[in-house]
């Protein structure tokens, strides 16, 4: 393992911000830590970087305990949330900084800065002032600066956090491609699930300083570990249920569950795609309260006639009902997950 955290714990003001976190990152792996603000994900990066001392536990890099090793000797790179470019240096001076700190000769430095700026899509920008850069350009310079000393582990704190949507979507693809090409080991944190799923080989969901779930983007998306993860991923159809013999008893009536689901009192997730709209007489009778156009589909919000929490359904634009319409609901067992 390139990076291992063993029961890493950080307390700030008596409250654990990192609570006995264990995490492994293999060479060439891109791991994304996903979590709401305050879940401890930035602290995790700072602890690995050596900027935040651990209260207990260990950080190992390449198998070596990093306790007592200061930040500048750990050989990891960190790209800060708001870039933190040095305002008094130009673009080239920023990118060359790490190389200078590592004693790289001037001629070689200039060549490498040129290569890196080309790599991040800013060829010939070395003499530009950082104050005049756009958000996306600052982003690229910060990335080139972090990559320059060839860190064994590159960490990104909300790498695309402050950029507008279209630029983000483009950059996330570029980053993914770049890391694949360079074989960089990456540990990134973000609160944006789209970013995490697009970027990562593996996603780690954090909650209150603990790891709630770890897996490939597909695994996490398909089988959220618990109600918190499901809701954090944006799923709203989570209800308490009692599961026995392939049937779940819920406030929406009896719902089918996939074979092999856990038995007992569990929260139940119904993906919007698993909610089918039928004639009012044929299923759970509901009234449509809202419909929201979502580009590829329409999200329809329904309120069951006989009580129970509202249901969200995804349906094609041409068949979507209007608010006030009476419809019936049936549920597809393949889109239902019994949560832990």
């Amino acid at each position: 393992m390139l990076l291992s955290l063993e029961a890493a714990t950080v307390r700030l003001g008596g409250r654990p911000v990192l609570d006995a976190v264990g995490l492994d990152v293999a060479e060439h792996e891109v791991v994304c830590v996903l979590g709401p603000s305050g879940s401890g994900k930035s602290t995790l990066l700072r602890a690995v970087a050596g900027l935040q001392p651990l209260d207990s536990g260990r950080v190992l890099l390449g198998g070596r305990d990093q306790t007592g090793v200061p930040a500048h000797r750990r050989g990891v790179g960190l790209m800060f949330q708001d870039h933190q470019l040095f305002p008094q240096r130009d673009v080239g001076g920023n990118v060359a900084f790490g190389l200078r700190m590592h004693g790289v000769a001037k001629g070689q430095r200039d060549a490498e800065v040129g290569d890196l700026l080309e790599l991040v899509g800013l060829p010939g920008a070395a003499r530009r002032a950082v104050a005049g850069l756009s958000g996306g350009e600052q982003q690229r310079v910060a990335l080139a600066r972090a990559l320059a000393p060839r860190p064994r582990l590159l960490m990104l704190d909300e790498p695309l956090g402050q950029l507008d949507r279209s630029l983000r979507d483009r950059l996330v693809v570029e980053l993914r491609e770049l890391f694949g090409r360079l074989g960089t080991t990456v540990l990134a944190v973000t609160h944006d699930q789209g970013e995490a799923f697009a970027l990562a080989d593996r996603v780690v969901v954090m909650r209150d300083g603990r790891i709630a779930q770890s897996g490939t983007p597909l695994e996490v998306w398909q089988r959220p570990a618990d109600e918190f993860v499901a809701r954090f991923l944006g799923f709203e159809n989570v209800v308490p249920a009692t599961v026995s013999d392939g049937v779940a008893d819920t406030p929406w009536g009896k719902l089918p569950v996939p074979d092999g689901s856990v038995q007992g009192d569990r929260p139940l997730l119904v993906r919007p795609a698993g909610v089918r709209l039928v004639a009012a007489a044929e299923g759970l009778p509901c009234v449509v309260t809202a419909r929201t156009f979502r580009g590829t589909h329409v999200a329809v919000r329904l309120l069951p006639r006989d009580g129970g929490p509202p249901v969200e359904a995804a349906c094609a634009l041409r068949v979507a009902p209007e608010p006030g319409d009476e419809v019936g609901l049936t549920f597809d067992a393949d889109e239902i997950v019994v949560l832990g």
Binding site: H72, G77, D82, Q84, M101, R145, A148
Partner: protein, 533 residues
């Protein structure tokens, strides 16, 4: 942190302890009753009373004259504003001795007013009060005007829209926002005038004496060291109280205010009222700030063929063992050494204070650092005199004693100038450098230094100006054969004769030019609002 702490322990805490011991200990026994004995003496009570009321009167007069100017600087835009701002600031860095001499030339015997109307004020308290206003005008204009310029005028406009008349809007919206700054400025002025030494020494004559002057008189004329020590303690307590109140108001000032860029709030004068206000402020500045200095220069040129200046190169006058002009070089040498020490000590202290994880102890040190500034130079000089004259640290014969004392007075300025800038450096910039492989020392060199270089230069300029003009401490410890400029001026003034008087004017003019030049260089550097002074 260790070096500044040791410096202050040896050169401030220890001398102060020595003063306490000298004042309250007799034959190895503490006698706290001495405090009461000294303070109840009629002449000492008179000094205390005068010190307090002249400080109150000076403060009130300064506020009265400077607040309209603060408004003009904050809200009105007019040609020559930059120049006027520099003119207003010059007096603050001028040595007290120069100011005293300038007012002597204006209102004293044979002064301008004496020539014109036969009016002499140098034997009245008015000369002292006017000199104090001259000095502290900039304190009020800078502290209050600086904040005023950043207050969002739309707050007042909002009040107007809600039905408040202009004056009501000002009284209910602007004044409460300004009040803490006015209080802080007033306390600063009170502190400076309460501990006034050079001005009162020169203008006060035998009649008027502040605590500072009395301490000096008890030490160097009456040779009653224990009374001087007790008076120093009284002053110490008073200053400590003022500083504590000041710190409290400064904390209050940090309340949430809507601040905007100062350039956006000023406008051209509109209507007769605003033009009249501008004219009034200009007249005040010319009469109060420019005229005394102009008269000083004029008087120094009275002798034919720059006679007073030429006399300065001559050691035969008998006032000194060396030619008075020699004092210029002595002053410059001392000032360079003092600036170096003040920068080292103040810079290290500021760096330690700026750390975000600075503990309560370190922050307490911040207040401690301000003490030498407030506790007055005479205390510092007196403390040096009685504490550093015997082993293990006998510096009486060493030239370094004077720069050390001046550095002690200058270091608080360095800290005050550097601290806000260092605090403003984003800690994550340092972290970014560390992650890129910079060791702590390189982080400082590569990240902090480039960002604070200008503040460092400004701090150096202040330390230099303070050291050049420092009088209260230096007069105790400067050696007779090596006087600094202010000491030489004071000594020339204390001698009779037209030639000595004229030489004092000439030497003051030289000192003023050097200080004003230092300040103008500073003003060019200071395009942003760096530090508190």
């Amino acid at each position: 942190m260790a070096l500044p702490a040791v410096f202050f322990a040896v050169f401030f805490a220890w001398p102060v302890t020595a003063i306490v011991a000298r004042g309250l200990k007799a034959d190895g026994v503490w006698r706290f009753g001495r405090m009461a004995d000294v303070v109840t003496q009629p002449d000492i009570r008179h000094v205390l009373w005068f010190t307090t009321w002249q400080a109150l009167a000076s403060t009130a007069l300064t506020l009265l004259l400077a607040l309209p100017a603060a408004h003009v600087f904050a809200r009105l835009d007019f040609p020559g504003k930059q120049l006027l701002r520099a003119v207003v600031t010059v007096p603050f860095v001028l040595p007290t001795v120069v100011v005293g001499t300038a007012f002597l030339a204006l209102v004293g015997r044979g002064g301008l007013l004496d020539d014109l109307w036969g009016v002499r004020l140098d034997t009245t308290v008015w000369a002292i009060l006017l000199a104090h206003v001259f000095f502290n005008f900039a304190v009020v204009v800078r502290t209050v005007g600086g904040l005023w310029a950043q207050l969002d005028p739309r707050q007042e406009q909002a009040a107007r829209m809600l039905g408040a008349a202009p004056l009501t809007a000002w009284r209910t919206v602007t004044l409460p926002a300004l009040a803490p700054a006015v209080a802080a400025a007033a306390l600063m002025v009170f502190l400076f005038t309460f501990t006034s030494f050079g001005v009162v020494q020169i203008l006060g004559g035998p009649t008027f004496s502040t605590l500072e002057v009395e301490i000096y008189r008890q030490t160097s004329e009456v040779f009653d060291l224990s009374t001087a020590a007790v008076l120093t303690l009284v002053q110490f307590v008073a200053v400590g109280t003022i500083l504590a109140v000041h710190a409290w108001t400064v904390r209050r000032r940090e309340s949430a205010l809507r601040l905007v860029a100062p350039e956006t709030t000023a406008h051209r004068p509109r209507g007769a009222g605003q033009w009249a206000l501008l004219a009034g402020v200009l007249l005040t500045v010319v009469l109060l700030l420019v005229l005394p200095l102009a008269v000083l220069v004029r008087r120094s040129l009275d002798a034919p063929g720059l006679g007073y200046y030429r006399a300065l190169t001559d050691a035969d006058g008998g006032t000194f063992l060396v030619a008075p002009l020699h004092a210029v070089w002595t002053s410059l040498e001392y000032a360079v050494a003092a600036t170096g020490i003040a920068l080292l000590i103040g810079g290290l202290a500021a760096a330690a204070l700026a750390r975000r994880d600075a503990g309560r102890l370190v922050r307490g040190f911040d207040a401690l650092l301000m003490l030498p500034l407030g506790v007055s130079a005479v205390t510092v000089g007196f403390g040096f005199l009685i504490a550093l004259d015997r082993p293990p640290l006998d510096l009486r014969q060493s030239w370094i004693l004077v720069p050390l004392a001046q550095a002690l007075v200058g270091a608080p300025f360095v800290v005050r100038t550097m601290l806000p800038v260092l605090r403003a450096v984003d800690g994550r910039l340092r972290e970014a450098a560390a992650v890129l492989g910079a060791s702590p020392w390189r982080v400082w060199r590569e990240v902090d230094l480039p960002l604070v270089r200008r503040a460092l230069l400004i701090a150096a300029g202040f330390a230099f100006a303070v050291s050049l003009g420092e009088f209260g401490a230096t007069v105790f410890i400067a050696r007779p054969d090596n006087p600094t400029l202010p000491v030489a001026v004071a000594r020339l003034l204390s001698r009779p004769g037209e030639l000595n008087y004229g030489q004092a004017m000439a030497l003051s003019t030289i000192l003023m030019v050097v200080c004003a030049a230092a300040l103008l260089v500073l003003e060019r550097l200071r395009t942003d609002r760096t530090g508190e002074f």
